[in-house]
Structure formats: C-alpha cells, structure tokens
Amino acid sequence: MTGLAESPIWQAFRRNPGGMIGLALVVLIVLAALLANWISPYPAHAGPIGDFGAITAPPSAQYPLGTDTIGRDLLTRLLFAYRLSLEMAVVVLAITTPIGVVIGLLAGYLGPVWSYALMRLTDVFLSIPPLVLAMSIMGFLEPSAVHGMMAVTAMWWPWYARLTYNLTRAEKREGYVLAAETVGAGVPHILFREILPNCLPSIFTKMTIDVGFVILIASSLSFLGLGAQAPTPDLGSMVSEGAKYMPEAWWLTVFPALAILLVVVAFNLLGDGLREALDARR
C-alpha cells in the first residue's frame, strides 16, 4: 500500500501553489476554531459579558482586533464564530450530500421516467435563488442557528443531485457498468459499488469548495437576522451589528467580513487544487 506521501494525487497537489495555500489556510482556520477555548485571548468574551472598561476599543496590543460595543474581544469572538460556521457547514454537507448523491445516482442510472421526475424536481429547487429560498423557509421558522441550518440544507441538495446525475450518466456508458449488468449484479451494487466510487473524487472536490459557500450563505442569513441569535458569536450577525457603527468603529465590520472572505477563499483554493490534482491523474 502506498502512503499518502507517495500517492500520485498528493504529488500533483503539491505542485499547485494555490491549492497548498488553501490547504495551509484551511488547516489554520480549522485548528483555530477547534482550539478556540484555549488559544483565544478572552474565552469568556464568547458569551454576553465583556470588558466594560474597554467598550468599542480600536485594535491595540491588548485587543488585537479591537472590542465591540460591550467590550468583548473581537478576535475571540471571531474564533468562536468560525467554530459555529464550520460546524454548520459540516452538518449541512453531511446531510445534503448523501441525499443529493442518491437522487443523482437513481436519476442518472434508472430509466427516463425516473430521471425526468427526479431531475425536474431538482430543477424546481435550483430555479429559486438560494438565498430567497432559504429566506422564505425562515419566514415560517423561528430564527436560530439550527433552523438556519435546516433552511440551507433544503436548498443545497439539488446541486449534488445535478452533479451526481451528470457523472452517473457518463459512467453508465462505461464498459464496467455493462459488465456488471451482464454478470447479473443488482441495481444497488451497480449504483453504490461500481458507479459511486468513480464519482466520489468530483463529489469530494465540490464538498470542499462548498464549505466556504455554505458559510457564506449561512452568514448572509444571520446578516439578515435569520441565523444564530445573540450572544452566540456569528460571522454574519457580527458584520450586520458592526455596520451600525461604520465608519468610526470600522473594525467591527471589516474584520468579520475579512474572516468570511478568508474562509471562502481558503476552501475554494483547496477545492480547486484538489480538482486539478484529480484531473491530472485521469
């Protein structure tokens, strides 16, 4: 068995500077989020209580990114907000990917009736702008992080259905599928043991890029007040809260916005690097 270091994917990935930068940033962000309790300067500031002596303090040695309107350290709150965002992205993708993939496999492999029914349903969801769909779902749910996650989940699976559908249609024409059919293998075997493994690299690549986009959409929802509620640190609500104090307390908006940008760019670079490495190997 070849280890990761010798695997051709890693060899190809390593030569891609963008991908390597993305990987480094992602590792940094994930570690920072996981270790937020220990590495953030003021872990208590993740809650409702801040340092009343330093309200809306600009960036300084004591508070590297400044403090908010009730004296809470912004850096601490950003690290905790990353944790919430990453948790959301993982949960959303863990639910949407299997649903979308199964629908895509069925629609791509089974006859035209199935593919017509399933893909038109998918198109209905895809035709509504994602944020509008999520907002309308939030219209009859109480705003909270969990409900935000549910709304994002409902709008995310069609992308995986569409991707897997196209991949499956291409794989279906390969001789190995015909071979499994003539040997007499059943549909579940052909879908999950033969076709799916050949689709996984593209699906994983999309998942990587989507971590950034799920965070972006979730932040958009909370920016509108439809996501996590105070005092939970959340990137989107931090941007919208801070916007009230622009331009004087600029750090309240700029740093959370940059944090969103950073995480989206990081996962995009990583995903693009993965895609190129996998393509090079084909």
Binding site: E174, E181, T182, V183, G184, E194
Partner: protein, 275 residues
C-alpha cells in the same frame, strides 16, 4: 445437427434515434449449435452488435424472439439465464472498474450467483486467474497499470466465473496489439475446449474468423446475408458482399509466411503467461 443452444427466430430491432426510426436488425433467423464457434461478420452498422445486445438481453426485440435451449428468453431474465450468457467486450480498458480490485471484479460473478462456498471464493478467484494465465497476486491489484491483454484475460476470467454456456465475444481482440491478439485468441479457444463453451464471435476481421470459427454468418445493413461453414463461405461465397469482404483480407505471401515461421517462438504462450 443437434437441437440449437440458441435459436434466433425472426428477430427485428428498431431504434429511434433523434425521432428517426433506424432498422438495426431485420427479421434475422439463425441457430447457434451447442459447442460451436459461430462468427458474425459485417461492417460497422451491419447489426452485429445489436444481435449481441439482443442475445444478452440488453434490450428486447421489436419483433420476433429468441429461444435458449428450447425455452423462450423473457424480456426480464432470471439470474440463472443471465448467468448462462456472458459477454467479452471489445475495449478491455473500460470493461474493468478502475476503483475495484481485479479480485473484487472476478468475485462479483461468484457472489451474484452464489457459486461455491463463501469462504472458498478467494481461492476460486486465484484459480480463475491461473486459468487465464495470470499470477494469483493480481487479485489484489487494480486494473491501473495492467496491459490491454492482461485486462482482457481478467474479463475472460470474470465471465468464466459465472460458468456460462454461451459467450458473446464482441470484437474481443480488435483493440489489442497484434501479438497480444493471437495470445488472447489462443486462450479463448483453449477455454472453449476445456469448458465446452459455445461462442458467438462478433468481428469484422475475416482473417481471424478463418482461424477459429466453425460457422460464419455475414450481416449487411441489419440483414443476414448468408450463413454457412467457414469453408463454404470462404471457398464459395454466394453473395457479392461476402466476396468483397473476403477480398479485403490482407494476403500473406509465401516469403512473409516463411519469415513468420522463422521468428515464431515455440513457447510464446508460456512467455506471456509469466509476463
């Protein structure tokens, strides 16, 4: 002649391509005798692959039908009938799943049909690999890095694992190098003798047909033009079309033949078995 293993009775197949009806196979009646190697020849588009698809049950005939050992073949085939009729594809590169090991690919046949004890199946896979001239440790490899000839041998092992009675060979050697072609053909013919198999050998290569087939059916534009023993077809073709096909076979001169004999190694087969 004994009762046919497979009887094709007035089989017709129409496909609709972009709204247009295409007649791929027109009222074909043909018997395949048990144990014979029956070649099906014709240009591309002559309907020979459609015939293969009908026999494998990939799609139903538009009209007419097929009988296997006297019983009509239903549109939805039970496992036992699927097992009895197996396929060797033209392109061995795509015929094996790159993400499954060679062993898994061969073992699938055993698992699907419940052939042998569960515990003995890995051994059976090794045996099958041996039969097609590959070492047992190939079971753990993936197809990546294997040659076309090796992959075709694995595809043959996978088909044999089903213990088939009829093998549809769809241009099994046409995407291989010339040297490898001869060895894979040799292997196929040996397997036929050892397992008493019946072959439907689809090919456009008449030179190959002369070497391996018992009977030949010539197809043109979906119609069966003529059928007969190899010697009858080659010595006294009845139609112009067959004559033109035969005339297109490359001729080997006496000098070339002598040269070929000089360089032919007597143990070619063993060489490849260990390569």
């Amino acid at each position: 002649m004994s009762a046919p293993l497979l009887a094709i009775e007035g089989a017709t197949k129409r496909f609709s391509v972009a709204g247009r009806e295409v007649l791929a196979l027109a009222d074909v009646t043909l018997d395949i005798a048990p144990g014979e190697c029956h070649a099906v020849v014709g240009e591309s588009g002559s309907g020979k692959s459609t015939l293969g698809g009908l026999i494998l049950g990939l799609f139903p005939p538009t009209a007419g039908g097929l009988r296997f050992k006297g019983e009509p073949l239903p549109a939805r085939r039970p496992l036992a009938l699927k097992r009895a009729i197996q396929l060797i594809q033209q392109n061995p590169l795509s015929a094996l799943n790159a993400r499954r090991s060679v062993g898994q690919s061969i073992r699938l046949s055993l698992d699907v049909h419940g052939i042998g004890q569960r515990s003995g199946r890995s051994e059976r896979v090794a045996e099958l690999l041996g039969e097609v001239g590959l070492p047992p440790d190939y079971a753990r490899r993936t197809p990546r890095g294997l040659s076309g000839g090796e992959r075709q041998r694995i595809a043959i092992a996978r088909a044999l694992a089903c213990r088939p009675e009829l093998l549809v060979l769809d241009e099994p050697t046409s995407s291989l190098d010339v040297l490898v072609q001869a060895r894979v053909l040799e292997l196929l013919m040996r397997m036929r003798r050892q397992h008493g198999l019946t072959y439907l050998f689809i090919t456009h290569d008449l030179a190959v047909v002369r070497g391996v087939a018992d009977r030949v059916s010539v197809f043109q534009k979906g119609r069966l033009v003529e059928t007969g023993t190899v010697s009858a077809i080659f010595d006294s073709p009845r139609t112009d079309y067959t004559r033109r096909l035969i005339a297109a076979i490359p001729v080997v001169s006496a000098e070339e033949a002598a040269l070929r004999d000089r360089f032919r190694s007597p143990d070619l087969r063993d060489e490849e078995a260990t390569e």
